[in-house]
Symmetry: C2
């Protein structure tokens, strides 16, 4: 059995089980915002936020955080798990979610409650509003959207472990890559190795895009077989203790043209310049601009068709966004990606992505793969 998990159970428990006071501190942080939000409590629907606030890792439920009560509402499938995992919260079992929320809110005598308006669909929200006679629901997603953006030491350790797992898996997968191997088989081997190294799952569907497929930023690994001279873009990540890694490497197979070498260099320089610009206090849009300006100055701006990066944590994409539309500023403790790319339709593409930890006076590149041009 090649896939025997290397993960040390004890290490996992220490890292993944944040001390209870982590959770109570996070709940206190929400409570401290209630006055500014002009609400008596907040209803959370985003399961990652619920996990962050009380430790419950189930895939369905609702959390109410008020001044006096913290109530986790779940259906019958999750009651036992909730009792085992949720810290500092009452457990309330519902058979219908809307009924359950109405009952808990009414019993709590609340009048004005904030809710995660980006984490509930329009229909459910309308049903809920219609049932809550005399109680006002106020959208607060914007105000709490950066709740998890700044990571504490425990979270950073988990992210570093996820990065280590994924890069170890890529190193051993690369030994197999040669012309004739399909994108799907590379993705399969890489995912298997990440799990074998201790990932609880993969961060997202691994992208292995070769040749013309590399011109698709979000390609799905297909049957195409690697050929000599291909760029191969591998975008991959592992989850450890709930925390994600996210990295992209672009390799060349066998031989390389001058044009490929040139474009790789442009993306690498854009990546390096953006990384160099990262420190607390810098506007996210400024980091994006630095990467984008470099690619634009080479006349390839129209081929850089996405933002420069995003926060990573319990979600693989979370606040802050590193893009032209962002109005956020970097703060120490944020973990973000820097991932410029150039995609030339029907020809090929290059993306280079690293995760960095924002510090007061710069950033730490989280250990991962080297980003210098590598010919396989």
């Amino acid at each position: 059995m090649a896939g025997k998990s290397k993960q040390d159970e004890e290490t996992f428990r220490i890292l993944a089980d944040a001390p209870v006071n982590f959770y109570s501190g996070r709940i206190s942080c929400i409570r401290s915002k209630l006055v500014d939000l002009e609400v008596e409590a907040v209803l959370f629907f985003d399961m990652k936020n619920i996990r962050y606030l009380i430790g419950f890792s189930g895939s369905d439920g609702v959390l109410l955080v008020g001044e006096s009560r913290v109530v986790l509402m779940v259906d019958g499938r999750y009651v036992t798990q909730a009792k085992g995992e949720a810290r500092g919260a009452e457990i309330f079992e519902y058979s219908d979610k809307i009924d359950g929320i109405v009952e808990v809110m009414t019993d709590s005598g609340l009048q004005t409650v904030g809710f995660e308006s980006v984490a509930i669909n329009f229909d459910h929200c309308l049903s809920l509003k219609n049932r809550l006679d005399g109680l006002e629901l106020r959208p607060v997603s914007k105000e709490i959207g950066s709740l998890r953006a700044i990571k504490d030491q425990n979270e950073i350790e988990l992210i570093k472990k996820a990065v280590e797992i994924s890069s170890q898996a890529l190193i051993s997968t690369l030994e197999l890559v040669r012309p004739g191997m399909s994108e799907r088989d590379i993705a399969l081997e890489l995912e298997y190795r990440m799990r074998g190294e201790g990932a609880e799952k993969v961060s997202f569907e691994t992208i292995v895009a070769s040749g013309r497929n590399a011109a698709l930023p979000h390609a799905t690994p297909g049957f195409r077989k690697i050929e000599l001279g291909d760029f191969v873009v591998i975008d991959y990540g592992a989850v450890y203790g709930g925390y994600h890694s996210d990295e992209t490497c672009t390799f060349v197979v066998g031989n390389i043209t001058d044009r490929q070498r040139e474009v790789y260099g442009i993306v690498k320089d854009a990546h390096d310049r953006a990384v160099d610009s990262v420190r607390a206090g810098v506007a996210c849009e400024e980091v994006d601009r630095i990467a984008r300006n470099h690619i634009e100055s080479a006349g390839l701006g129209k081929y850089f068709s996405h933002g420069t990066g995003h926060g990573v944590g319990l979600d693989v994409h979370e606040a802050p966004r590193i893009s032209a539309e962002s109005d956020s500023y970097l703060e120490a403790g944020m973990v973000i990606t820097i991932e410029p790319g150039i995609y030339i339709p029907d020809l090929w593409g290059v993306r280079i992505e690293s995760m960095v930890l924002v510090e007061e006076n710069g950033c730490e590149i989280l250990a991962g793969m080297p980003k210098d041009l590598r010919i396989l």
Copy 2:
């Protein structure tokens, strides 16, 4: 390299590339509903519905289906993929999604447009409504919620192939299972084998729950090692050509108590009775009642904490629901699960799940694992 994909590329292409007229038929079906819905067009946000209607398999985008125009709106990451995949649709590139929708709707001169109100979050919906001066948006999710419920022959073939892949993978994984192997390692081997058999991905995070963990209907595979006398619940599935399989087997390891044998038998009978009741025209709640009554009559009703089943297709959970709250009726061509379970907190649990194809006078159990008690 053990994981060399066995999948035959040619077979995959034939099955996965539905003929163009499949898509045009599906678009016609939406158009035929416009009058009843009292709208001129429908905005789709659910990526599975978008894939179903035009074949685009990207993970972000919006589709407008009107009497005269079918427009797929995507951002820069997906333009090349959209041009390659989308059948019978114009491609419109946006940099901001809301801006893009507003532009396309305004240019089309529409006045009343239906939208998938369960597939857009409250914030986005509000932003969109605020930007659409004089244009009315009308929620139509309920009316089109069963769009994909009845499968055509091509879809059924893909589902059968997904079932075959996943059960083949389980058969070979079971050869490895013995006391001392961890839940995580069983899940890892099973997922690797599904991918090796040709799955493009797994349907959902595989559940391997042993001993006390088997009492959690939605357990995450952990470090617990299999022990003699354990029930091991394995809930797993593969995706092929976009279509999912979903099956649950419960095994016993080594030896079994009388009480375990009895409870397994109750769940198995509930499963069999529900399967026997499936045919076109039967109410979904009736199928649920048949399984539930059997478990209740054994005095264990409170330990059956979820619905009896659900439709399966491009999503692993889709219409119809087989539960006490369902107001749907079975129709020929639906593919549903039947999955009763009994979960005794802190002791153990049993779930048995099969996929069945609804027919006029009964149903076809889609090939999978036998469901008689098996001692590993």
